[in-house]
């Protein structure tokens, strides 16, 4: 019986109703953090001694890269939980995480390209990190597509979860690629152990941007999962009552429109 709380967490209806209350304050908080972080970084942080203003793209590029990697783990873990416990909600989270992760990966690649041109001298180089980041994008896109092509929902979820789990090996490779091989991409500036090689006047806005991106990711994941919940549970009574549709041919729908 110790696992009962866990199964309650897996109820789509419980999730939908809880998040409805959270979103009221979480969405404004996220937007505020994002605005403060980006304005601080892009307008008020000092210029870099060597790169001048072009380094500022780090405030968009680096948090997007972090979340595209963290988001992959979230998607894979959700898929794994769904496989093990056969719960509905984790699969919905997994499906919701794929397009968000793909968008963040595209943002990372695009901003990296824009940063690379003035500093490296090229928009794209077949660098280890670039290549594996591209692989990550294809994994995300693969899961988005795989989730759509299967006619049976259950089979699609299982296939996506397995692909997501297999793809997790790519995440540490991306993270360590600049240390393992000779590459054009610079190593990490923020280190878990030891001093960071980025001046505090730039580090604080960067950390704020990372926090803001985490919130933004969570917000997007909640919104996408809520959409997924509504689509998949469209035939249940509680969703019918929620959207005010005439579930059993009653008149409640008409009243909402009036």
């Amino acid at each position: 019986m110790a696992w009962q709380w866990f199964h309650r967490l897996g109820s789509p209806r419980w999730f939908y109703e809880k998040t409805s209350r959270w979103l009221v304050w979480f969405a404004p908080l996220t937007i505020a953090l994002l605005l403060i972080g980006l304005i601080w970084g892009l307008a008020f942080a000092p210029i870099d001694a060597k790169q001048g203003n072009s380094y500022r793209i780090i405030f968009i590029h680096m948090p997007a890269a972090v979340l595209s990697l963290v988001g992959y783990y979230i998607m894979a873990i959700a898929g794994g939980v769904g496989l093990i416990w056969r719960m509905k909600l984790p699969f919905m989270v997994m499906q919701a995480a794929a397009p968000i992760g793909a968008a963040l990966t595209i943002l990372t690649l695009a901003t990296g390209s824009l940063w690379g041109y003035p500093t490296w001298g090229t928009f794209w180089e077949w660098d280890a990190r670039n290549i594996f980041m591209l692989v990550l994008l294809f994994l995300y896109l693969g899961i988005v597509v795989l989730g759509k092509v299967y006619p049976v929902r259950d089979a699609a979820d299982k296939a996506c979860a397995i692909l997501a789990l297999v793809g997790t090996v790519n995440v540490p490779i991306i993270y360590k690629s600049v240390d393992w091989w000779y590459s054009l991409h610079q190593p990490a500036s923020i280190k878990f152990t030891g001093a960071s090689s980025i001046h505090p006047s730039m580090l604080y806005p960067l950390l704020l941007c990372i926090v803001a991106y985490y919130c933004f990711y969570t917000l997007s994941l909640i919104l996408y999962t809520r959409r997924e919940v509504l689509v998949r549970e469209a035939r249940t009574q509680w969703v019918g009552e929620l959207v005010g549709a005439p579930n059993n041919g009653d008149k409640s729908g008409g009243e909402r429109h009036a």
Binding site: A49, Q51, A76, W120, L165, I173, W181
Partner: protein
Amino acid sequence: MHPVRKQRLIVVLAIVLLSSVAVGLLVFALRENINLFYPPAKFSADEVPRNVRLRAGGCVEPGSVVRDDESLKIRFVLVDNTGQLTVQYEGILPDLFAEGEAAVVNGMWQDDDVFYADQVLAKHDETYMPPEVAEAMGNGEEHQATCEVVDYGS
């Protein structure tokens, strides 16, 4: 935990573990090919094929950059701790190309021991600081972190 779920958990862990081992072995086998460039030490040791398109990367030795007066031709020496490589290039250099900074060049190493590059990329490091701080630290003469360990003696 229910035995069926425990079994599925083991299967999930096995999927992750086995695919990691498979990809890990693959990447280990291809490790030389994943390197973007050869370091100067490999050139000095003559372990690099000649007359083949490849990339070399290292630190631009301070004082080694010689520019041609009439054209965009430039000659410089890439170094690391044990090797050095003379590079010749004609064209526009990226803004961050400088002596004491890292660079990656794309081209051919020919029989006269000169690397004829048709592309020069600047490799910037992971330190970011305002200009005032940089000046206070080393009068703006600071070499980048990756090149600090290189011994420029000789």
